[in-house]
């Protein structure tokens, strides 16, 4: 659903001052289509009204890069532009996300049990909101960074999905999903289906983190109104403080009683107890050793800890400002956290150690995962009886998924699994990688790269990622309203006019939408500028498609169709309401109506409204009107059949 006020904020991409007729349907269509993406767009157009009137030298109404080549080759031309983009992007010469759209007259997801790592911890993918910040990895620098979610895509999906499963990785993705892999020393994206074709694929599981660049040496503690004669603290040295926080978060408790505000760090191990005691002493907190803990009193610190790190085992968390620091600082807090609730087990017959962290707090579990990832390690999480166990992996640089090798009697690591349900994908502004968790295993994966008849057919078949828009004015309008394959039955044009022996065009118009849908591209739709929300939504889907997308949009022409110029939108609405121009979409082979009028108006209303059909209203041509109505009815029935037979979700 598009919000008109939000759309009005997108800067105009087609300016005024072009010389299309007053009341032209084509420019409204172009303006609405270009509202379908906020990314940079490069547009191309075939020779026609649109191109000719918007680029009369030395003026151009295009505020975006624009190319016109020749009459029948806008798809081929834009294929070249899109390929140049991929080639230069591959070489690092271009980093921006750019969309491509060709205007002519006559385009991977996750299963619903995947969690995404957001700035507020892991969330089920269904619950990701627009604007929410999500953890992702920059493929150019391998650094962890937060990226805003622009949109959550969701589609019903029935069919095979690619399952990747190993000790460290678990994902269930659509075959066209973008998977970031480690190849020849850098990130590359391949499709999910390619994982099956490849013998082995390497995944990098170590990411970089440099903090927000701010160097801190001390941390300030907020003052509180003084309570008795207690010591007032103003600042602590950062590393010591972080170590203290780590102890508190793992082993600390807060007690309030008549005698005061107590902070207690539990610890039975004497060596560790000594360590804590010395640390607290160093900080000037006047600690005292107890049987199983090290305690000290301070209302100021009590309130600070309650606010920053939480009170109670289920509420513990690492303060956000601490997680934003650089690795050196993070190691301090990590060290004491592990000393507290962490456990180290050495495996028999191996020199490797297995680190584990246990907590009952969901917030802390999320924070620990963030901390671990930032320290360049990886982990997996399991939950049992309300307790999270985080298994911290040894520092493997890469992990390989094998598609065919059966290791030690294990099942294949990359398989096909049948899936029926909805699939989701967040659309990040950049990077197109997200951290996912499935069945406890955490890994990096990709997200939708969102980021515009012979020549069209070739372009569709090759799978270029561009949007082709047919602004359909049902004739060769630019050169004087001559008949084309898109001209409807009964219309009078200058090359097939009505006359004593002719009622205008004999044949029904070519069903370009079905021809394009037969190429099995990700997204095909029919739209009308009169239903702007439907058009803009379809345009958004088209720009978001992972492959070619096609929009067939009716563009009224008051000169060729002969009606008063101000009725442009009214006429296109009439086309929709009479069923002459059904609003449909075909998404990955599933046909559906996006709008059905409650009751289809008789087609005679449509024919009455335009001069190009006026010759039909005579006794001899009456039968043509009946044939046209039958044509519309038959087409409608055919579409309903297609919707029923391709509908995947009951």
């Amino acid at each position: 659903m598009a919000n008109i006020k939000e759309l009005a904020k997108i800067p105009e991409r087609l300016s005024g001052g072009h010389r299309l007729c007053a009341g032209c349907g084509a420019s409204t269509v172009v303006r609405q289509v270009l509202m379908g993406t906020k990314d940079y767009v490069v547009a191309g157009s075939a020779t026609g009204c649109l191109e000719v009137a918007t680029t009369i030298y030395p003026f151009t109404a295009w505020k975006i890069p624009f190319i016109h080549n020749a009459f029948e080759n806008s798809a081929a031309t834009m294929s070249g532009v899109e390929t140049a983009y991929r080639a230069l992007k591959k070489k690092g010469k271009i980093t921006k996300e750019i969309k491509f759209v060709a205007f002519g007259g006559d385009g991977g997801c996750y299963s619903d049990d995947t969690d995404i790592f957001t700035e507020n911890g892991f969330k089920n993918i269904k619950d990701i909101k627009v604007g929410e910040k999500i953890w992702s990895v920059n493929p150019e620098t391998n650094e962890l960074e937060l990226q805003e979610n622009e949109k959550l895509h969701q589609y019903p999906y029935k069919g095979a999905m690619i399952r990747g499963k190993s000790r460290f990785i678990d994902f269930l993705i659509t075959p066209n999903h973008n998977v970031p892999i480690w190849y020849k020393g850098r990130w590359e994206f391949i499709k999910g289906i390619d994982l099956i074709k490849r013998y082995k694929t390497a995944f990098l599981r170590k990411f970089y983190w440099y903090g927000n660049g701010i160097k801190i040496s001390d941390i300030d503690i907020p003052k509180i109104p003084k309570y008795t004669y207690q010591k007032e603290f103003s600042k602590f040295e950062i590393n010591k403080w972080l170590r203290f926080l780590g102890w508190y978060i793992s082993e600390g408790c807060l007690y309030k009683s008549k005698s005061g505000y107590l902070i207690r760090i539990y610890q039975s191990n004497n060596d560790k107890k000594e360590k804590i005691y010395k640390l607290l002493q160093n900080l000037g907190l006047s600690p005292f050793k107890c049987n199983r803990s090290v305690d000290f009193q301070s209302k100021q610190i009590y309130e600070y800890l309650e606010k920053e790190c939480g009170k109670g085992s289920k509420n513990k968390r690492i303060p956000k400002w601490a997680l934003a620091l650089d690795k050196g600082h993070l190691r301090q807090i990590f060290g004491s956290l592990m000393d507290g609730d962490g456990s180290v087990t050495k495996q028999e017959n191996r020199s490797s150690y297995h680190l584990r962290y246990i907590t009952a707090s969901t917030m802390l579990m999320n924070d620990m995962v963030e901390l671990i990832l930032k320290l360049g390690r990886n982990c997996s999480v399991s939950k049992k009886d309300g307790i999270y166990r985080i298994g911290i992996d040894n520092e493997y640089l890469k992990h390989k998924l094998y598609s065919r090798r059966k290791l030690y009697g294990d099942k294949q690591q990359v398989t096909l699994e049948n899936y029926k349900g909805f699939v989701y994908c967040p659309q990040l502004k950049k990077n197109h990688t997200v951290i996912i968790k499935r069945n406890g295993k955490i890994s990096l994966s990709g997200n939708s790269y969102d980021i515009g008849l012979q020549s069209l057919s070739g372009t569709l078949e090759r799978g270029h990622r561009l949007v082709y828009v047919c602004y359909n004015n049902e004739a060769y309008m630019n050169t004087g309203a001559q008949r084309s394959g898109a001209t409807p039955k009964g219309a009078s044009t200058t090359t097939v006019p009505h006359g004593k022996e002719s009622h205008g065009k004999e044949q029904f118009k070519k069903d370009l939408t079905s021809i394009v849908a037969a190429h099995r591209i990700p997204y095909v739709a029919q739209a009308s500028a009169s239903n702007w929300n439907d058009l803009v939504t379809k345009s958004e889907k088209a720009f978001a498609a992972d492959g070619p997308a096609f929009l067939n949009v009716i563009a009224t022409c008051h000169r060729g169709w002969r009606f008063p110029q101000e009725k442009s939108i009214e006429i296109s609405k009439l086309a929709v309401e009479t069923g002459v121009w059904p609003l449909i979409e075909v998404e990955n082979g599933v046909w559906r109506f996006t709008y059905k009028p409650k009751e289809r108006k008789p087609v005679i209303e449509w024919l009455k409204s335009q001069g190009r059909f006026s010759h039909l209203f005579t006794e001899e041509n009456k039968s043509v009107i009946d044939e046209i109505q039958k044509g519309v009815d038959d087409n409608w029935a055919r579409l309903e059949n297609l919707c029923n037979s391709t509908c995947k979700i009951a």
């Binding site: 008109i4 006020k5 009005a8 001052g17 084509a26 420019s27 680029t55 151009t60 101000e566 442009s568």
Partner: protein
């Protein structure tokens, strides 16, 4: 357009137009016979006029309809037709 046309030496090669959107310098407002005028009191800021204008000639500021770009409005009358509260009149120029 009375300005002197440039010589072959003065224009960019390849037929390129380097100033994006410079069609704004071409005032198609001169095409009008009727001009749209809005009754501000009735306007509900639905922005339909902006969505349907073929000439990008409806100004929008802060989500509100802020007037017509008379330099480029061709007086086609679509805005008046689509306005749900009929607050736009087409007056003879």
């Amino acid at each position: 357009m009375a300005e002197k046309k440039k010589t072959w030496k003065e224009i960019p090669i390849g037929g390129l137009i380097l100033k994006a959107g410079n069609a704004m310098e071409y005032k198609t407002g001169g095409w009008r016979t009727f001009r749209p005028e809005k009754n501000d009191k009735k306007c509900i800021n639905c922005l339909f006029c902006w969505m349907y204008c073929p000439d990008s000639s409806i100004k929008v500021e802060d989500g509100k309809m802020a007037g017509f770009d008379y330099d480029h409005c061709k007086g086609c009358g679509i805005c008046a037709q689509v306005c749900p509260v009929k607050c736009i009149d087409m007056k003879k120029e």
